[in-house]
Assembly symmetry: C2
Homo-oligomer: 250 residues x 2
Amino acid sequence: RCHHCSPAMLDVPFLPFCAFLGALGLLCVAMVGTWCQHWRGGFSLDGSSRTFNWHPVLMVTGLVVLYGAAALVYRIPNTWSGPKLPWKVLHGSLALGAFVLTVLGLEAVFCFHNSQGTPNMYSLHSWMGLATVLLFSCQWAAGFAAFLLPWAPTWLRALYKPIHVFFGSTILMLSVASCVSGINEKLFFSLKNGTMAYKLLPAEAVFANTLGLLILIFGVLVVAALARPSWKRPDSDSPDSRQVQDALGG
Amino acid sequence: RCHHCSPAMLDVPFLPFCAFLGALGLLCVAMVGTWCQHWRGGFSLDGSSRTFNWHPVLMVTGLVVLYGAAALVYRIPNTWSGPKLPWKVLHGSLALGAFVLTVLGLEAVFCFHNSQGTPNMYSLHSWMGLATVLLFSCQWAAGFAAFLLPWAPTWLRALYKPIHVFFGSTILMLSVASCVSGINEKLFFSLKNGTMAYKLLPAEAVFANTLGLLILIFGVLVVAALARPSWKRPDSDSPDSRQVQDALGG
């Protein structure tokens, strides 16, 4: 009896959803900072575990939250008309900012390992994280070359665009999976002594587990927002370009 | 000069892609079984770590591979014509099989913890995994009630379908993230003594890290296949039902 209200009921407007995502992203950044400051001894550059603490903060801020913001730029309705270049520059700059924070985040953990004599790159977390960062660097370089430099021919841009869109969502899923495995691993490392063991679920464990779940929710919501057809640039709705743009699942 | 070849070049046919996914899924199952059999002492029902070994095998087989197969049923072109009921029954049965294996996988880890006196449900891995299984049980029950029982009105089915599709992909992403955090955690637990420590990257660590990456690739490819518009049932391409079906990012 209410067949036609169903699409309308699910048709959340983009901007309020985006404001909610922004608040959720800021909450994740605040929580990862609080975790490292309040329970893990704060921050320094001396190669100690206080140097390591930059790693989760920079990764959550760069590779999840700022990356998510960069990915969502073309879903803002204002970007659908007028010159494209300023929006391309904004998208590329936010992604570059995310990339710089990510590289600093890697630097923090390598510096910590090296000063402690711990080998680098042995855990599944590190393999997955490095694969994510390598994909991100290829994504940024190829996006810059194809869409910002003037030399790429139209057919190459059309061919590469769905690949860029597909890897955009994929890299975010991988970075979220890297974050939760890293938080899990860090809690096992840190909460070892008798009164504070992870398995007794002290306040720090509840706090950081909750942070992990919020990062997952943030990632799922950004990927869903990217995939939603009614939030995509309308000029990509012609059957031909739609097939190109969506061909790989973007 | 080659503008029209771009969509065609990306237009992989579904069935060969599906065969590749099937082979990748079987490889993941074979590898998790080999890991537990060859390096972790095999399987038993006595509450020891050999009982725990059922946990990764059942979770990868049920919550990732069989779940992925269930999710892809409606992408088989044969399902697009003729009566829908047999395909609905197949989809629901594969999902039920995945759910049963998942519950047995939970049973294995609870049985192991209880017989060792280890608390349950403290790690981020366990929180994320349990959230995934709870979402999966709601998804199965609501799907059964809305699409297989005859009483749901058409408007309710139309309203619920995009939600079911959205959670279908989301649950798979969460189960993949749960698997990789679990493999990472298990390797830290198991590879502790001097000669075999995880950080020295013994053969077992390389093998299980590779398994984790293959599970990630399997999950990303299934989610991408589900999202690809040209692989969806054509009758959902009318503007109205397409908006409903895709509204939440399916």
